[in-house]
Symmetry: C2
């Protein structure tokens, strides 16, 4: 028996599409309705969503999607979350719980709570891919991944419980974290790696040309994988999370400057100490 | 029929061990002899080399390994290549060709040619792993990888041909490149990615503690994979290739500083332009 009657997913890209596929497979909701802003200009992507089983019902508008929905998931880029919430808020059922999947949380949670306090739960599944769009979606994307929730003093207990059950239904591990702490952690563990990947791709292209580029091996491949991510999406994330991103970036730049000085001085002992410490630090992380 | 009678591999870690396994499989040489400096303190690793089929003959000394060898491969860290060459040079057969597999080339080639001009060919297979040692070796490590050779005006044509045939025998694509150009390209495509990976691991560990570290996902995993590499090996590489590494690092730091300024100013247009250019740059590389 389904936990809820109807879930509405607004935005059916990599995350929203994968969520729809996973929720349909889980039987968590009797109906998975969805809508995507891109369907108007690219009607084929609507057909792909239905074919791939991301939604039962491809709604004509976000308002139509949220009608009757117990749970509404805003799966759009971080700068589109609040405008979309503003658009659908008047059409939400009085019992509807709303969550999002954005990579930044403090501003979104604050602004969403100013609109629908108690019923909004900020969320961020720690899973993804450098690819985007419904074509890249996969029902198992969230298997084993942490799904951060950002409850505050305003958050209703039932609302939080529903979002946690949804996360668990798709194989993720729900994990509460205050929005500000989330943003600091995401800056260091996700946003900084993206910045470095983009910077490495740019630097390598400037310094290596022509057929010499085919000499790139594994360290370049992995170091730049996420530079294949959508630049528009990442512009929004970096600007939205500017302070934590700059703090992480500054700390990285300090480290790099100290290393550079040691290399310039041919100070093997210092270079070795810096690399050995970083090597040990890496061993303290478990990664998927 | 084997191309040569005897190859001697001095240093049986990840690269030397994989080369031995691949050469034995290929039948390129009738005998694969080897020696590793670590065998004295860790005799078990000698047994592993024999068990894993990295060598036919585990020699008691580098001098014994090179006796009768047509081809000698110095597969030791970059700062150990010339000292090892000095040790074995008096024992080389007059017809022996010597090559190395180090990640830096200009200094090594210059110093080796000062000793055995004409018979030395600098080499660098563009394949590897964050793991090290014979335990991580694999016969297919070089399949499809470029194998850079660094011929100079001094290099004998037969010597170059022999090293190229060895590379081809293990599935790699031999590719000549002047030593200085190699070092610039390796700095941008391999050494810089390693610097960024070590720095990212250090920064993340400083900013994220305790169980929050389990939130690390794919971008952190891939961005720090090579921070699991051997710090001693990478100390030697970065110090040996100091000038090109600093040039690449400086160019990266300039990019990061420009991005930081745009983020601080909430200048979405500039952030987007920087990320979009980097995204396009990444698409210009083919990686394994």
């Amino acid at each position: 028996v389904a936990a809820i009657q109807r879930v509405a997913i607004l935005g059916l890209g990599l995350i929203g599409g994968s969520l729809g596929m996973a929720l349909k497979r889980s039987g968590f909701a009797s109906e998975v309705a969805g809508w995507d802003a891109g369907w108007e200009t690219r009607p084929a992507s609507r057909a792909v969503c239905l074919e791939r089983g991301a939604v039962d019902e491809a709604a004509d508008s976000p308002e139509a999607a949220v009608a009757g929905a117990d749970l509404v998931v805003l799966a759009v880029p971080v700068d589109a979350v609040i405008p979309l919430l503003d658009r659908v808020a008047p059409h939400l059922e009085p019992y509807a719980v709303v969550t999002d999947v954005g990579s930044t949380k403090e501003r979104i949670v604050r602004e969403a709570e100013a609109r629908i306090a108690g019923r909004f739960v900020g969320g961020h599944p720690m899973a993804g891919s450098e690819r985007s769009g419904i074509e890249a979606a996969a029902a198992d994307l969230f298997e084993g991944a942490p799904w951060i929730t950002c409850p505050t003093n305003e958050t209703g207990r039932k609302a939080l419980g529903l979002v946690e059950r949804m996360a668990a239904a798709v194989g993720a591990a729900p994990r509460p974290c205050p929005p500000g702490l989330h943003d600091d952690v995401a800056a260091a563990l996700s946003h900084l790696p993206h910045v470095l990947a983009f910077g490495l791709a740019d630097t390598a292209a400037a310094r290596v040309s022509g057929t010499l580029r085919t000499l790139a091996a594994g360290s370049f491949r992995d170091g730049t994988r996420v530079a294949q991510s959508d630049p528009a999406l990442w512009t929004s994330i970096l600007v939205d999370n500017a302070e934590p991103v700059m703090e992480s970036l500054d700390q990285f730049l300090s480290w790099a400057t100290v290393l550079r000085r040691a290399i310039a001085a041919a100070d093997r002992e210092s270079v070795h100490r810096l690399l050995a410490q970083a090597h040990e630090s890496r061993a303290e992380f478990e990664t998927p």
